[in-house]
Symmetry: C2
C-alpha cells in the first residue's frame, strides 16, 4: 500500500491546528459567531430539503419536504465559515471584499450568507426576513422556476457561477486588476484544484502589481473529497502541499480541524494575519512607489466535508466523507427513521435561538454582519455593470487607410489597427486591458506596448532592456495559458471594465467550454432585472487557418465559430472584416457594445485592401452587401453571385471574379461580401438577421451562388437554411484538407482558391455552354502551373501572392 | 521594479552548475558527445535553411537556400543534448526509452537525432545517410509536400506531435502505464508549462504504480523564453522552482549552464543518477511487492534558448533570448553579411569532421548511438499500432436485457453495460483501462470496480475502507481533470493499448481542442505507410443535456458532436444508442475498431427499453431503420415520419407516436430511429453514409419528417443537406433554452417533448384538417397540465415520468 503521511495531514478532525496561534475572540464573540454559523447551516439544510415548515415549528412530516431532493451540502460549511470570519474583519478594518465561490455546487453556503446579511431580501422582497420569506427562500432552491445550486447570476454579489470548475482564481484576479482597494476572497475547491486551468492560475501573482491592483486572498478548501473520490491535494503530506503553494509563489497559512470553538479562534487569527499582510505589502509598495511581488498570504482550510453533519448514518460515514457531497441523507422520503434523523439534525442547530418568532434573525447576530454596500453580497463589483464606464474611444476613422485602390493596395490591416488600439489603451488607462497567450507581438499588435507594456512581476534580467517590453504597470497581460487569459478577461469585464483577448485561431478551441459558460452567464443575466449590463467580451482571432499552411494540419481549425454559433442569438456576434478599414470599424463597434461575446476573425498578414473608410463604415453598418465596383451586373440580373466572408476568402473570390471578367467578359458576376455573419440568418432567429425580401434582392432566388467562406462550409448552410434559393448555394470553405503547403496549395486542396472558384462559376452557369470550355481548360492549366511552381520553390508564384487587378468601376 | 532573485536562477550561461557533481566522462567521451551534438545542430540549421549544398562544400549562395525560411531553432539544442545523453545510458544499461518532445516546434532537434542514429534513412530510404540523402532530408523540412516543424506522425518514434502545447506529460504517463520496462524521457517546455493541462499533469505520479507501470523522466527545459516573452518558471527563484516541483511530488535535479564540456559532465552524471533512482524504486517495489509513490527524479535543464547560436547579431541578442525562437537569422536572403554569418556559424560546427566525404556520419560518432530497436526513434512503442493486441471481448449479447416489452420495460442501460465493461476489464488486465474525471460511479459504471479499482497512489486513510474502491493496482483512472484523463488515454492508446473515457456531456467541451488534435494525428497517420493502426479512442458521454434540468443552464451543452463532426470522415464516428441493448452492441463495435475517435452518447438514468438483443444488433448493424412495431404505415405510405436520434429524444418521439396512435388512429405514422449519426450523410461524403435511394425508402421524398434530435438541431440539417425532400425535415433539438427545470419542462422549452412533437405532426399533415383541431387542443391542455404539476411539485407527473404504451405490433 502507498505510504501514509503523518497525522498532521490526515485528519480534519479535532481541535484546531494552525500556522499562527492566537485567541483574538472572547467567549461571547465565539458564541455569537458559532450561532451565526449554525443559522447558516440551518438555512442550507432548509434549502436542500424543505418546502414548508421552515422553522420546524411543527414536527417534520413528509409533506414539508420537497418531492425531489436536489442540491449539495459538502462545501457549504467551509464557505459559510470563511464568509463569517471575513465579516468580522470588514467591520474591523472597513474592507472592500468580494467573494468568489470556487467549489462546485456550493451555493447554499453563500446564498444563506446573503440572506443572513439581509441583501437577499432587499433584492428579492418576497424572500423576506421572516418565516414566510424563509419558506419561499427554501422552496425556490433547486426547484423548477427557482434558482440553481451554483452561484448563478441570480445570486447577489456573484460574478462566478462555478458551474464548470477551475476558473475561480483567474476570475478573482480579473476582478482585482485596477481595483486597488478590493480584496477578492476566493474559496478554491480541492476538487477544482485538480483541473488544469486552476492549477496554472496560481501563477497569476506574477502579473499583479500591488500598487494599481487589489489583492486575491485564496482559501484552499481541503474538504478532502470530490463526488466520489478523495482529492489529490488532501492526500499528499503537509510538507508537500506547503512546498507546492510556496512554489506557486504564495505564503500558505493552515487552519485545520473540526472543533468549532478552537476553529473560530484559529480562523479569526489567521484571516486577520492575512488581511494585515496584504495591507502591509500594499502600503509598502504604494508609499515607496516600488512595485514588487510579495509572497501573498493564503489559507489552507482543512475541515471535514459536510462539516457539522452526522459523522455516520447506518454505519456508513457521512460527515468527512464523499457521501456528504450532495444531498447528505437521500432517503428521508421513504425511510421514516431517516426523516427523524434529519429533523433532529436540523433542530440541533437550534433555530429557535437564532431566529425570533417571526423567523427574523435576532439582532445580536444580525449585527455581526457589515451594513450597506460593505456587505459582501452587496458589493457593487458583484454587479459590475453598475460600475462600467464607457470607453473613451479614439475616432477610428482617423486611423483608416486612405487612397485605397480596391483589390490592389497591399497593407497590414492588423498592424494598422494596433495603432488605434494603442491610443485606446492610452485613453483608458485603468479601464481597459489587452490579453493574449504570448501572441500579441506575433499578431502584429506590438504597437500597443507604446501605451502600455506587458505586465510582468517575475524577475527581471539585464537582457530585458533589449526589446523586452516588460513593466510592472503595463496594460497587456500575456501568459501562455488561454484559460488564464480568458479567466482574467472574464473577471475584468464582469467587475465592470473592458478588454480584448487576442489569440491564434487554431487553439482558441482550448477555451470553448469557458466561452460557452460566459455566454450562458450573460444570457441568464438578461433575465435578472437588477443585473446591469457589462461590457462585451471581445475575442480577436488571428493567425487564421488560411495562413497556417506552413505550420501544418494541427494549426488548421476554424471551427470555433461553430461552437459560438450554437449559443443564444441574444449574446453572440461574429464578424469577419475583409480588410483593414472594415476591421477598424468592427473593432470600434465591438468595443462600444455590451453584454455580447463578440468574435472578430481577421488575419494578421499583409493583404489586399478593398474599401476606403467611408465605404467600410457603410459596409459594416449594413453587415453584408453587394460590392458594385467588383460586379458587372449593373442594371441587369447576374448570371452568378460570387459571395465571400473572411479576408483571405474575399481575396480569392475577388481574384476569381477578376479572372472571369478577363476571360469571360460577358458573364455577369455579382460580388457580395459578408462582414456580420449573423446577417445571413433569418431576422426571425437572430437580431442581426435579415428578411427573405432583403436576401432575395442580394442573392437572387434562381442564380447560382458561390460562397467562399473562411470556416467550415456547413455553417453557411446552417445559417441560410430555408432561404429562398438555398439549393443554389454552393459553399466553399475549409474541409479539413491540409498539410505542409503554401497558402495557394492549401486553398487549392479545399477548393477555395481563385481558379477553383472561377471554374465553379463556369460549371454552374448553364448558359455558358461550349464557349467556356476553353477558358475552363486555361484556368486549370494556370492553376496547375501555380501549384507546380509553389512545389518547386516552396513559395507561391509572385503573380499569385501579389495579385491585383484594375477594377474599372472604381 | 520587481526584485531579482539570486545569480543562481538568473543565468543560463557559464560553466555547469548542477545538483549532483561528478565527472563520469573521460575527455574522449566528452569530445565525441560534443561532436555528435555539433552534428545534430548542423543538421538542424540545414533543415531550417538549405535546399542544396548540404555539406557546405561550396561557398554558401542564395540559390542554396530555401525561398521561404520556416522552422524553429529555440529548443532544438536542449532536446538534442538530452537525447544524446540518454543514448549513452541506453547502451550502458540496456534501457527501453521513448522520447516525448514537449516544446513547440522542436522537431529539427529530434529529427536530426533520428537521422544520426540511422532510423530516419531506414524508414525513408531516399533520405539516405549520404550527401544526396542529406540534401533531401534538409529540403523536405517545412517545405510544401514535406514534413512539419513538430514531431508529426511522419517522425519515427513519435507519439506526440506537440502542435498544441500542454500534453507532453499526460501523453508520457499514458505510454508507461502497464509498460513496466519503459522509461519515457519527456522534454517539457517552459512555455507549455504555463498551460493548465501541463500544470496539473505533474500530479500524474499519484496514479503511477512502480510495479506494473514504467517511469516518466521529465526534463523541464528552462530555455527562458516563449515566442516573445520570458517564461514564468524561468523567472522565479531557484528555491521557488524547487519548492514547486517538490510540491508536485518530484525530486528535481538541476543542470544549468552553457559551457559544453562541463555541461556534458553535469548532464551525464545527473541523467545517470535519475535512471539509477528509477531502477532502484522499481526494484524495491517489485521485489517487495509493495507499491509506493517514490518522489520520482526529474531534471531541470537550464540552457540558453537557441544554445550554440551567435550571442548577438547586429547588437541585438540572439542566443539566450526570444529572438532565437524561430528562424534565428531571418534576412539571410536579402542581407549578404548575414548570409556570410550563417555560413560561418554552420561551418563552426565543423561538418567536415563529423561527416565523411560521402556525407555519412563517421563511425566513431555512429557508435555513440544504440542499435536496432534500442535506438530511441526506433522504439516500437513509438508506432504503438505494431504492439496492439485486440481485446479479448466478452460476448456482449450475454449481457443484454431479455424479455423487453418495447416502450414499456424500464431499466438502466448504463448500469447494465457496466457489467459487460467489468468483464472486459477482467479479461484484459494489462491492455485496457477506463478513464474519467471523478464521474465513473456517478455515471453508473461502478460495477467495473469489481474487476479493477481506482488507481490511487496518494495517501490512504482508514475511512477508505468504507467503499473507497481505491487500490495501487486498479484499472480505473480518475482525476478531476478532463485534460489529464484524455491525455493519459491518448498516450495509452497511441502506445498500443485500449481504453475508454467516460465523462459528463456538459463539460466534454473542455477537451475539444485535444480531441481535434488527436483526430488530426490519426488522420495523418493514414498517410504514413509504416504507421500501424492503433485502437480507437472511445469517448462515452453521459449525464446528458436532457437530464441536466436540475443542474441548470450551465450543464446543458450537447454541442461536442458539432466539433467532432467537423473532423475528417475518415476518423470520426458518432453513435447515439436509444436503449440498453443497442448501447451494448455499440460499445462492442467501438472497442473492436481501430483508428477512429468514437463518440457514444447515452444517458445514465433508467429509461424505457425498446429492443431485444437480436433486434438491437440488427438495428445497430443497419445504423438506422424503421421500427415497424412502432409504425402503423405497413403496406402504405405514411402520412408523417417521426424520427429520433438519442435515448431521451427517442423516448419522447415514441410517446408522441403513441399519443397520435391513441388520438388519431387513422394517421399513418412511420417511426425511424438513428443510432449511427453518420448514416444520415450521403455515402459520397462519409464511409457510413447512405445513398439517396436508401434515404428515400426510409424518409420518403414528400412526407413531413419530424426529427427529434439529442443535440442542437442544426447538425441534422447539415448532415442531410441536399437529401431528397430535405425541405420536409423539421428538426427539434436543444435550442439553448433551459434553467432549473424538470426533465419534462426542459423538453417543453425546447419543443422536444411528446406533446410538442405530436402537435407538430398535426400541424404538418395538411390532410388532417379540422378533425384534428380537437386533438390539438387536448394535447395542449395535457401538456400545460403536466407543466403545472411539475411546477407545483418540483417533479414531473407520474404518467409522464413512467410512461409506457402497449405497442400492438410487437
Amino acid at each position: 500500500m502507498a505510504s501514509n503521511a503523518g497525522e498532521k495531514s490526515i485528519s480534519a478532525y479535532g481541535e484546531a491546528r494552525s500556522t499562527v496561534e492566537g485567541k483574538p475572540l472572547d467567549a461571547e464573540e465565539v458564541r455569537k459567531m458559532n450561532a451565526y454559523f449554525r443559522a447558516s447551516m440551518y438555512l442550507c439544510l432548509g434549502m436542500l430539503y424543505l418546502r414548508e415548515n421552515p422553522l420546524l415549528t411543527e414536527p417534520l412530516k413528509l409533506e414539508h419536504l420537497k418531492a425531489r431532493l436536489l442540491g449539495h451540502w459538502g462545501s457549504d460549511a467551509g464557505q459559510s465559515f470563511t464568509w463569517i470570519h471575513m465579516n468580522r474583519l470588514i467591520k474591523k478594518y472597513d474592507l472592500d471584499v468580494l467573494f468568489v465561490s470556487g467549489p462546485g455546487h456550493g451555493a447554499p453556503g453563500i446564498i444563506s450568507q446573503s440572506y443572513l446579511e439581509g441583501v437577499y431580501s432587499e433584492v428579492y422582497p418576497d424572500k423576506a426576513e421572516d418565516a414566510k420569506g424563509m419558506q419561499k427562500f427554501f422552496k425556490q432552491f433547486s426547484f423548477p422556476g427557482g434558482i440553481g445550486s451554483h452561484a448563478t447570476p441570480e445570486t447577489p454579489g456573484s460574478i462566478h457561477e462555478g458551474g464548470e470548475l477551475g476558473y475561480s482564481l483567474s476570475h478573482a484576479f480579473g476582478s482585482v486588476f485596477d481595483n486597488p482597494n478590493l480584496i477578492t476572497l476566493t474559496m478554491v475547491g480541492d476538487g477544482e484544484s485538480e483541473t488544469g486551468p486552476l492549477a496554472t492560475s496560481w501563477h497569476s501573482t506574477k502579473f499583479l502589481n500591488p500598487i494599481v491592483d487589489g489583492a486575491v486572498l485564496p482559501v484552499l478548501h481541503l474538504n478532502g473529497y470530490k463526488i466520489n473520490n478523495p482529492t489529490v491535494l488532501a492526500r499528499i503530506s503537509h510538507d508537500e502541499l506547503t512546498a507546492l503553494l510556496v512554489g506557486y509563489g504564495w505564503k500558505p497559512y493552515f487552519v485545520e480541524g473540526s472543533d468549532f470553538d478552537t476553529m473560530h479562534q484559529a480562523m479569526a487569527t489567521t484571516l486577520e494575519q492575512c488581511v494585515l499582510e496584504i495591507r502591509k505589502y500594499q502600503k509598502q509598495a504604494r508609499e515607496t512607489k516600488t512595485p514588487f511581488r510579495p509572497r501573498w498570504p493564503m489559507i489552507v482550510l482543512r475541515t471535514p466535508k459536510g462539516w457539522s453533519a452526522p459523522r455516520e448514518v447506518d454505519g456508513h460515514l457521512l460527515e468527512g466523507f464523499w457521501r456528504a457531497h450532495q444531498i447528505p441523507i437521500t432517503d428521508v422520503r421513504t425511510n421514516p427513521p431517516h426523516l427523524k434523523l434529519l429533523e433532529t439534525w436540523m433542530k440541533g442547530y437550534k433555530p429557535e435561538e437564532l431566529f425570533d418568532n417571526n423567523g427574523t434573525l435576532i439582532p445580536e447576530l444580525k449585527e455581526l454582519a457589515p451594513t450597506g454596500n460593505s456587505r459582501i453580497s452587496a458589493n457593487p463589483v458583484g454587479n459590475g455593470g453598475l460600475l462600467r464606464k464607457p470607453l473613451n474611444m479614439p475616432d477610428f476613422r482617423k486611423y483608416g487607410f486612405t487612397d485605397i485602390v480596391p483589390g490592389s493596395t497591399l497593407k497590414g490591416g492588423m498592424a494598422n489597427m494596433a495603432i488605434f488600439l494603442r491610443d485606446l489603451v492610452a485613453q483608458n488607462m485603468n479601464n481597459f486591458r489587452l490579453f493574449g497567450p504570448d501572441e500579441t507581438e506575433s499578431n502584429k499588435l506590438a504597437e500597443v506596448y507604446k501605451a502600455g507594456k506587458k505586465v510582468w512581476m517575475g524577475d527581471y534580467f539585464e537582457e530585458d532592456k533589449d526589446g523586452g517590453n516588460l513593466a510592472p504597470d503595463g496594460r497587456v497581460m500575456e501568459i501562455l495559458s488561454e484559460h488564464t487569459c480568458e479567466g482574467w478577461l472574464e473577471g475584468y469585464v464582469l467587475s465592470g471594465r473592458h478588454g480584448l483577448l487576442n489569440s491564434y485561431e487554431p487553439f482558441i478551441h482550448v477555451i470553448d467550454s469557458m466561452i460557452n459558460q460566459h455566454c450562458k452567464w450573460i444570457e441568464k443575466c438578461l433575465e435578472v432585472e437588477w443585473r446591469a449590463k457589462v461590457a462585451s467580451l471581445n475575442i480577436l482571432i488571428t493567425a487564421t487557418v488560411w495562413r497556417q499552411d506552413h505550420n501544418g494540419f494541427t494549426h488548421q481549425d476554424p471551427g470555433f465559430l461553430d461552437v459560438v454559433a450554437n449559443k443564444s442569438p441574444e449574446v453572440v456576434r461574429i464578424y469577419l472584416p475583409p480588410d483593414g478599414n472594415t476591421l477598424l470599424s468592427v473593432m470600434d463597434h465591438c468595443l462600444r457594445s455590451v453584454n455580447y461575446v463578440n468574435v472578430i476573425v481577421a488575419d494578421k498578414q499583409e493583404h489586399i485592401q478593398f474599401l476606403n473608410m467611408e465605404e467600410a463604415v457603410a459596409h459594416c453598418t449594413k453587415g453584408l452587401g453587394i460590392w458594385d465596383w467588383a460586379s458587372n451586373d449593373q442594371g441587369s440580373e447576374p448570371d452568378v453571385v460570387m459571395a465571400s466572408c473572411g479576408d483571405v476568402s474575399t481575396h480569392e473570390a475577388l481574384a476569381a471574379t477578376a479572372l472571369l471578367r478577363e476571360y469571360l467578359p460577358d458573364l455577369k458576376v455579382r460580388f457580395v461580401n459578408v462582414v456580420d455573419l449573423f446577417r445571413l440568418i433569418s431576422s426571425m432567429h437572430h437580431p442581426h438577421g435579415m428578411t427573405d425580401k432583403k436576401w432575395k434582392a442580394i442573392f437572387t432566388t434562381d442564380k447560382p451562388i458561390i460562397f467562399n467562406f473562411h470556416s467550415y462550409p456547413w455553417l453557411i448552410h446552417r445559417l441560410t437554411y430555408k432561404r429562398p434559393g438555398q439549393h443554389n448555394l454552393h459553399v466553399r470553405g475549409y474541409r479539413e484538407k491540409g498539410n505542409i503547403d503554401t497558402p495557394f496549395e492549401l486553398a487549392m486542396r479545399n477548393n477555395t482558391d481563385r481558379y477553383s472558384l472561377a471554374i465553379d462559376a463556369i460549371d454552374l452557369v448553364q448558359s455558358l455552354g461550349n464557349t467556356a470550355a476553353g477558358v475552363r481548360e486555361k484556368l486549370i492549366n494556370e492553376q496547375l502551373a501555380g501549384k507546380a511552381e509553389a512545389f518547386n520553390n516552396g513559395l507561391d508564384p509572385e503573380h499569385i501572392r501579389n495579385w491585383s487587378w484594375p477594377w474599372p468601376n472604381k
